[in-house]
């Protein structure tokens, strides 16, 4: 489904584009950025036709509120991806940050603000660990974060002793349950993060350097920028935002155990790639990334309402990731052809 849509969009755009190489390039860039929005609209249209209960205020609101923490993780992960890296450990970062924050509140009676601040600090440190290893040992971030992921998993289960913690102080539950102007607080929080991160990319020197790092690391080094430091920061930012997402997730569930969080990395990664973040780094934009999260969300929700079952969703998600990566490659090859 997603694949068909994307292929169609790209073909029609090819047909429209002029012979001028530059113009076609601009077209491709536009297409690359917003193909995902058309995919999303098409999915919404299809599920509205298939199920009566899909296109209702209640259901659409659910889709948004159930996915705020995925958006936050995906936005955090975008730093790493756009810088040319990857972080597979975000799922177990959430697991570890979640249980530790919960234990501070439930077992050790920390004030909520202190538990949250320390939880966010812990997440940032986990990101720092990834960043330092990736930047110092110049090896594949895929393997590094796969390794740290397993380590975080171990620590999370040892710390929590596989217990479940629930019934948090009301101040903590307020993160997900509170409302401002009728809109849930976590939706506001997500919106704030999306806007701030988009501004970081478009308007700051640091954001520009992150994109540059993903584009050509050696050239950035020759330009006198410490690529090591930039890399370390990128993983830290990802760790921090992952921890923020953890707070939202735990608050929403009002319960946590070490198995909460893992799997998020796959969703966030798929959403980012579907949203046009290049797996090779150097490219991506935040609005499309958010649309990418919603593509997966709408698909999951719609398939459930259409009665397609949970397991079929896995197959579709995997297929979507493959399609998105193939689309990415296809566009790269088009660009090369335009250049030649």
């Amino acid at each position: 489904m997603g694949m068909d849509e994307q292929a169609q969009v790209s073909r029609s755009s090819m047909g429209r584009s002029s012979a001028d190489g530059l113009q076609r390039h601009v077209h491709l860039g536009f297409l690359r950025k917003y193909a995902v929005v058309f995919v999303l609209l098409a999915l919404i249209l299809v599920f509205s036709l298939v199920s009566d209960s899909f296109f209702t205020v209640r259901n659409l609101t659910n889709i948004v509120t159930q996915n705020t923490y995925f958006i936050i993780v995906a936005v955090g992960l975008s730093f790493v991806l756009i810088a040319g890296g990857i972080d597979l450990s975000v799922g177990y970062q959430m697991s570890l940050v979640g249980v530790v924050t919960a234990m501070m509140m439930v077992l050790w009676s920390f004030p909520v603000w202190a538990a949250v601040v320390l939880g966010l600090a812990l997440g940032t440190v986990l990101g720092l660990v990834n960043g330092l290893i990736v930047a110092r040992i110049k090896t594949f971030p895929l393997i590094v974060t796969l390794a740290t992921s397993v380590i975080f998993q171990g620590i999370s289960y040892i710390v929590s002793q596989a217990r479940t913690f629930r019934d948090f102080p009301s101040a903590f539950q307020f993160i997900a349950k509170g409302r401002l102007g009728g809109v849930p607080l976590d939706v506001w929080l997500t919106l704030l993060i999306v806007v701030v991160v988009a501004l970081i990319y478009y308007q700051t020197k640091w954001g520009m350097r992150v994109v540059a790092l993903g584009g050509n690391e050696e050239a950035l080094r020759l330009a006198g920028v410490s690529t090591r430091r930039t890399k370390t920061w990128v993983y830290m930012a990802c760790g921090f935002l992952t921890a923020v997402a953890t707070m939202v997730m735990v608050s929403k569930a009002n319960s946590v155990q070490s198995s909460f969080g893992p799997g998020t990395e796959f969703t966030a990664l798929t959403a980012a790639i579907v949203g046009g973040v290049s797996f090779l780094g150097g490219e991506g934009n935040i609005p499309a990334l958010v649309a990418g999260v919603f593509v997966l969300a709408v698909l999951g929700n719609g398939m459930q309402l259409a009665g397609w079952g949970v397991y079929a969703q896995f197959i579709v998600r995997g297929a979507i990731l493959l399609a998105a990566v193939a689309f990415d490659e296809y566009q790269k090859s088009l660009k090369l052809r335009v250049k030649a």
Binding site: L22, Q203, K205, R209, N216, G224
Partner: protein, 269 residues
């Protein structure tokens, strides 16, 4: 004594004195002297393995000389890394160019020393960067349509021009170019050579490593010839022919005066 040294030194923007460099048992450079004048284009020529790139990399900080002195603008300096070299206003434009294909011209020029505004320089001053790039394009008369053009869609010659513009924007006064025309077609190469001449006329001093001797004869003021890591001589372009240069490259200074016969110009690269 001291005064004469200083006077002699300030005549040149760069002086390399008795530079030697060894890689293991190989003598890559043997007591090489080089003097570059302000606003001059000096061709650096020699066969493969003659030591051209090694000599230039010593000036750009990629290598450190085993022996010898470097003088820049009349002062003895130490160049231990590319940053030292950049601080002295020296920029090397690499063959592989070090551009960002995911960026437009402006971002390629300003990355690493971005213009900012606002409190603590938090916000990129895009307007000023685009405007300055536009001015640079006009000033250098380079063949680039817009400061917003993406470099991935550019030709090899245009990319070279972006790399040059970047060096100029960084206030470099000494440019080292490594085979800039090697991958270019005739038209593109001529445009680029025009730009290089243009830069020299603005007072920028240029060291041009190349295998294409006709390029050198077309735009350089002098040609510096290396062979086997040793200086063979410096020729005034106005006073020599292609044959003279090629003879020196192939035979070296000791046999250059012999009758021609075994020396032919073979399109060098």
């Amino acid at each position: 004594m001291t005064t004469t040294t200083v006077a002699a030194a300030t005549e040149y923007v760069v002086q390399l004195r008795r530079i030697s460099k060894r890689f293991g048992g190989v003598h890559a450079l043997r007591e090489v002297d080089l003097e570059l004048r302000r606003g001059e284009i000096m061709g650096i020529v020699g066969d493969n393995g003659a030591g051209k790139s090694t000599l230039m990399k010593i000036l750009s900080g990629a290598y450190v000389a085993d022996e010898g002195e470097i003088w820049v603008n009349g002062r003895k300096v130490r160049i231990r890394n590319p940053q030292d070299s950049a601080r002295l206003g020296i920029a090397m434009i690499y063959q592989d160019l070090a551009l960002f294909n995911n960026f437009d011209v402006t971002k390629n020029i300003f990355i690493g020393r971005e213009l900012t505004r606002g409190p603590m320089g938090l916000v990129l001053d895009k307007k000023r960067m685009y405007r300055e790039t536009q001015e640079l394009i006009r000033e250098l008369k380079v063949d680039i349509k817009s400061p917003r053009q993406n470099v991935a869609s550019m030709s090899g010659g245009q990319r070279q021009m972006v790399a040059c513009a970047r060096a100029i924007a960084f206030k470099s006064t000494i440019l080292i170019m490594d085979e800039p025309t090697a991958a270019l077609g005739v038209t593109e190469a001529n445009k680029l050579l025009g730009l290089i001449r243009n830069l020299a006329d603005k007072g920028i001093s240029i060291l041009l490593i190349t295998q294409r001797i006709p390029d050198v004869l077309a735009i350089a003021d002098r040609v510096f010839v290396l062979k086997g890591g040793e200086r063979q001589g410096v020729l005034d372009v106005g006073k020599v022919t292609l044959d003279d240069v090629v003879t020196l490259i192939v035979r070296g200074k000791d046999r250059a005066g012999e009758a021609p016969g075994d020396v032919m110009y073979k399109s060098f690269g």
